[in-house]
Symmetry: C2
Subunit: 233 residues, 2 copies
DNA sequence: ACAAAAGTGTTGAGAGTACACCCATGC
DNA sequence: GCATGGGTGTACTCTCAACACTTTTGT
């Protein structure tokens, strides 16, 4: 029931999407930034993103921009917040819908792209000064991620299919930026019934006891309880 | 540092804001809807909202639309989610940034407005079929509100300056749609140290013992703890 | 044999939950 | 004096938090 009836005044604005892509890289939580080569911010690091096209949904635009930059196919992608200050972009009135995404470092590959000279991971603790209001967007994304690991299984998106309990704990410690008690962590994870013992063992060549490998019982990100899996805020 | 350099292609889209305004009205949680009079949805109930102008932020647009409809000055207003499906609006490609807002029924007054014939409160349990994807937006807003009353002081925005503990409990019960234990509720509220005994008493003319009047120690919406003020989900 | 990470239980404190009766007032 | 909502305390349960030693492997 599409009807040809445009609004009387011209209300159109430019809308972009920006994606905060997280991974765990060298035992740090890292964000992908790309170096811009065209506009006034040429040379400056910024979040991957671009304009929303007329024929695609905003979600589709975010996914497309992510795929143009990286070659990932299956990622967890969630809308964050819409930033709409008239002065946020010096090129003009541009509203941006921000997203954040999580990938497992191991099945990831950067893709060469025409309008970005370079893409690079930066630990969230050591970001360069980014373009626009992108620092604020990253801060917002980090906050959301830290909250969400507490009551959902979102953390699993950062891990490979099979992993040890120590690796899982390390992921939580990296995201939350704090040490956790090993016994309490394992007890909690096991009683949640979200882990499956694969039967396999991981021997990483080091001189230590091999660790059991686990996988998740549910591929989706599921909500657990409000109380917090790990840390009460 | 505004620079005159528009994007090469025309990427502009129409952007609207839509506001889910909640209040507690006749012991029910209610949402304000307005009857549209212009477009293909003429006669249909919809959320108050309108186009974002070029010189205002998205937040300002939401506040402006709210003030055009009601004459409230101080409201709690929070961005919800951005809906950007290409087919969500039959008039064309329109992206909407949704907000929700809370007001106290008592200091509220509807305002007559040119392009809406009528505005009316509807209990969230008995909504008419609204225009566009507004039912989804309302569902989303309700979910957010129900979560947020649990770990913030957001509920206070629905109450007058001074109120009794029973009124506060009733507000929680209405929002969460469940009965709460009187003694546990009062114990919890008092131990949070967010209430101030005003010294006043409320005698509402009924044949019962007068109730103590309380106010909040902090006007802002503050975050308490993750664990849930009242009900763990 | 030793270094390094894996794996494993118990106890005490605090918070949550369930539950019933007296009080002050208007009519 | 009675009907109506206001106001109050305790006991049980469960979850959270703190804490240290044995096991298995590679070198």
């Amino acid at each position: 029931m599409r009807v040809a009836q445009a609004p009387k005044l011209d209300h159109s604005l430019a809308v972009t999407v920006d994606v905060v892509l997280f991974t765990i890289w060298e035992k740090k939580l890292a964000v992908l930034l790309v170096r811009r080569i065209k506009d006034p911010f040429s040379g400056v690091w910024a979040l991957p993103g671009g304009f929303v096209r007329k024929d695609e949904s905003v979600d589709e635009a975010a996914l497309r921009e992510l795929q143009e930059e990286t070659s990932v196919s299956r990622v967890y992608l969630e809308q964050l917040y819409t930033f709409g200050d008239p002065d946020r972009d010096p090129r003009g009135r541009i509203i941006t819908v921000s997203y954040y995404a999580l990938i497992n470092w191991e099945n990831f590959q950067l893709r060469a792209k025409a309008d970005t000279s370079e893409a690079k991971w930066f630990p969230v603790q050591k970001l360069p000064k980014p373009a626009f209001d992108h620092r604020e967007i990253i801060r917002y994304a980090l906050e959301r991620l830290q909250h969400k690991v507490n009551y959902t299984t979102i953390c699993f998106q950062l891990l490979p299919k099979e992993f040890t309990l120590s690796e899982l704990q390390q992921a939580y410690e990296i995201i939350l930026h704090q040490k956790l008690d090993k016994r309490n962590f394992r007890k909690k994870m096991i009683q949640l019934h979200i882990l499956k013992d694969t039967g396999g063992m991981k021997t990483d060549g080091g001189p230590q006891r091999p660790a059991k490998l686990y996988s998740f019982t549910d591929v989706r990100v599921v909500k657990l309880q409000e109380k917090g899996i790990i840390v009460p805020f």
